[in-house]
């Protein structure tokens, strides 16, 4: 494990989280290699979001450890995540309602701006250069996602699918090494989901992706590896084809019809 650990971006090792008497995660382990897409699936309440929050530093595990490029992540704070090279999107989008689309995306590029608060206050040339670079880079990402035309609008005025792309643009603009996507397909039309699948696949050339998702179709289509959670425990790990036929998974989650969740 230790010999190969430097080849892994993120390792989650034996993580347990308890909320009072409830065990939300129990001895969960997974590892993410560069350039791979890993799906985390499981019925509602299986602990997917809890796992996400642990990785992001919102929750501290009661037991276990996270490692980023082989180095332990202890007491990391959510605002340090971006600096490490990890970006995430949120289930609830979490766009800033009072900022334009472009400004929303620019907030995501913060780690690339190195001007301190004082220099900004004094209006140094460096701050102005940073501003221009942030703006240009953000415009590029918007163009890549085909939403350059809404750059100056407020997110509230946009259709849901477009807002999701804005949220994705904000995560991508910092050029993360690991991208955490929390239910990126929820609320999308079939056509938009196809597009998303293509996009995730092409993203994996630049960044590793962790996908927490309900839509089995999407997960099976784009993931290199799938981790199945149930009642806070990992019940299966492996390539989609293997996980799909795993009896424990079928029992817990898939059933005979993949879209239905048996009484969980």
């Amino acid at each position: 494990m230790t010999i190969t650990s430097h080849e892994k971006l993120l390792e989650v090792d034996g993580v347990t989280v308890r909320f009072g008497g409830l065990v939300a995660l129990h001895d969960v382990g997974l590892s993410i290699r560069p350039g791979t897409v890993v799906g985390v699936i499981g019925p509602n309440g299986a602990g997917k979001t809890t796992l996400f929050n642990v990785v992001c530093g919102f929750l501290r595990p009661d037991e276990g450890e996270l490692r980023w490029k082989g180095r332990p992540l202890r007491k990391h704070r959510p605002d340090q995540l971006a600096g490490l090279g990890i970006a995430r999107t949120l289930q609830g989008l979490g766009l800033f309602g009072g900022l334009t689309v472009l400004e929303n995306v620019m907030t995501g590029a913060g780690r690339l701006a190195r001007t301190g608060a004082l220099a900004s206050l004094l209006g140094t040339g460096r701050a102005a250069r940073d501003e221009r670079e942030l703006r240009a880079r953000s415009e590029d990402v918007l163009a890549e996602l085909d939403i350059a035309h809404v750059a100056d609008l407020l997110p509230g005025a946009l259709p849901y699918g477009v807002r999701k792309r804005v949220a994705l643009a904000r995560a991508l603009v910092a050029e993360p090494e690991l991208l955490l996507l929390d239910e990126p397909a929820s609320g999308l039309s079939t056509a938009e989901m196809d597009e998303l699948a293509t996009r995730i696949t092409s993203l994996s050339e630049k960044t590793a992706v962790v996908l927490v998702e309900h839509h089995m179709d999407l997960v099976m289509r784009v993931c290199d590896e799938v981790v199945v959670l149930d009642f806070g425990e990992v019940i299966a790990t492996g390539p989609p084809d293997v996980v799909r036929v795993d009896p424990a998974v079928a029992d817990a989650y898939l059933g005979t019809a993949p879209e239905e969740q048996p009484s969980a």
Partner: protein
Amino acid sequence: MTTFVNLTLGGLSSGAVYAALGLSLVIIYRATRVVNFAQPALALISSYLAYSVTKGTGSYWLGFVAAIVAGTLLGVVVERLIIRPLRHAGELSAIIATLGLLLLLQAVAGMIWSNEPHAFAYAFDFRGRFSPSDLFAVLAVVVAATGVLLLFKFTPLGLRLRATAFNPEVAKLVGVRVGAMLTVGWGLAAGVGSLAGLLATPPFIFPTVLDEVFVYALTAAVLGGLDNPLGTIVGGLVLGIGLSYVSGLLGAELVPLAALAILVAVLAVRPSGLFGRATARRV
């Protein structure tokens, strides 16, 4: 007609001061939902420092600069020592803490500099209608307010400050150091507040000298929508001119009453302010 012009010009310079002090309240309110009742006391302390520095060195401008710098630092210290420890205790606790700080700092000022009024110099000649001092007040506020608005709108720091104000949780996720942004916000606000204090204090300084101005500044901020910096600046100028008319045409003793009447009317009719957007409250 001359009276009208005089009243308008006179109102403009006091309105600029209300606008600046109101702006300092808005910067903090929109980031934290806390009305900083200690703002006049922070400005008071920095004005007293200006008084002491000017007295010691003989230079008004040395005192002026010292006051702005000290005021900014005071804002930073207050955020770190008083507001930050209360961040999980709710907004009301922080508001009450600022009220306590107001009383404390006014008492401390009285202990250090005595409660007796001391003469406090104007920046320039203050005689005549729209004197050089009035002009300086308007220009200083225009420069400071423009600087703040440009900072918010066009710099990466301003973007992070605004992101923090709109949604601190998400701001953290995109890598903004929210705590640091709040500290910067308090420093910035207190710096602007100190400027307002320096302009509002003359001709005499005493511990409660800024209380009345604070009421007008709060009225200006409510008029502008409390989370709208530009609205507050317009609100301050409108209020200054309006109160100047009240003073000149109806009698100076009616000014505080008129300000309170405006405050109550705005809160009753348009609680989000004349320029405020009706937005969902952060809970």
